[in-house]
């Protein structure tokens, strides 16, 4: 049972987060190319042959006495390094989340699907058509924008209660707050 749980957890993680395989492959390929090039340059320098691109002694000389070009190259290299670090530690979260409280299975729903469900419920609570409701689901907040029908004000508390109830029924793992924002201008059919 423990193995299965671990497997499902890993499967869920794969569904919830972007794969880093492409980035890893690109970084590894770049590293291999640069390493090979440095090794080749060192070998050619040791053998007394002309360098492929630049002599390693010249590189060391530039590093000990940096000019504008060296600073620029170092800055670019530093930027690439920072990007790689950021990519390695960022969550790479997809617009999906775990829903339901099932014990043995894991259910994952797209945020767009959940937002659609919330829009439907909000539209019913606000007595407007679904086209007049726009729901944005961020990690911790469901932002519901309602355009009222002209002459019929929208009760934000009723809409918020209905959306909260729907969220509770969906059963998002992380608690999601609800923010209802009625538009200042209404609309006529």
């Amino acid at each position: 049972m423990g193995t299965r749980s671990s497997f499902t957890e890993r499967a869920a993680r794969r569904e919830l987060r972007h794969s880093r395989s492409v980035v890893s492959t690109v970084v590894a390929l770049c590293g291999a190319v640069v390493s090979s090039w440095i090794a080749t340059e060192l070998f050619l320098s040791w053998a007394g042959r002309p360098a492929l691109v630049v002599n390693p002694e010249l590189i060391i000389q530039h590093l000990s006495d940096p000019g504008p070009r060296t600073v620029l190259v170092s800055a670019v290299a530093g930027l690439l390094g920072l990007t790689a670090i950021a990519l390695s530690i960022s969550a790479a979260r997809r617009a999906r989340r775990r829903v339901g409280a099932a014990c043995n299975t894991i259910t994952i729903a797209d945020d767009a699907v959940i937002a659609g469900a919330l829009s439907r419920v909000a539209a019913l609570a606000a007595h407007v058509s679904q086209a007049q409701v726009r729901t944005t689901l961020s990690r911790r907040t469901a932002h519901v924008r309602v355009t009222p029908s002209s002459g019929f004000p929208v009760s934000t508390s009723e809409v918020a209660a209905a959306v909260s109830a729907e969220l509770a029924q969906i059963g998002t793992l992380r608690r999601v707050g609800v923010r209802v924002e009625p538009a200042r201008q209404g609309t006529l059919a």
Binding site: S150, G151, F152, P153, L188, A189
Partner: protein
């Protein structure tokens, strides 16, 4: 458009429907034929703004200011009752006036 919770389906009230209702209310309040009254509805900060254009019928006992006051009340009271909407009266434009003796012609 409104939808009643618990009842399947939905009801759409179009702009044209609103305008027909308010034109009829205007014609009734100004005592003229329905074809002599028209209404324009729009949104005003979430409220239903109603502006009417009509011919008015006047008599010695019902001068124009009294007719217009009746129209104002009718738009708010009867319009609110019939449509269920919160109404903002956008004013009336009287384009013609007929005296009481002409009523037989306009009716």
């Amino acid at each position: 458009m409104t939808a009643v919770q618990g009842v399947p389906g939905s009801v759409t009230i179009t702009r044209r429907a609103y305008e027909k209702v308010f034109a009829a209310i205007t014609a009734d309040a100004l005592k003229v034929a329905p074809r002599l009254a028209s209404a324009h509805v729009s949104d005003a900060g979430g409220m239903l703004r109603v502006a009417v254009t009509a011919t008015a019928s006047v008599s010695a006992s019902q001068p124009l200011p009294r007719r217009l006051a009746a129209l104002d009340r009718a738009i708010h009271d009867r319009g609110g009752l019939l449509t269920g909407a919160r109404i903002q009266y956008g004013g009336a434009r009287i384009v013609d006036v007929v005296v009481d003796t002409d009523l037989s012609r306009v009716r």
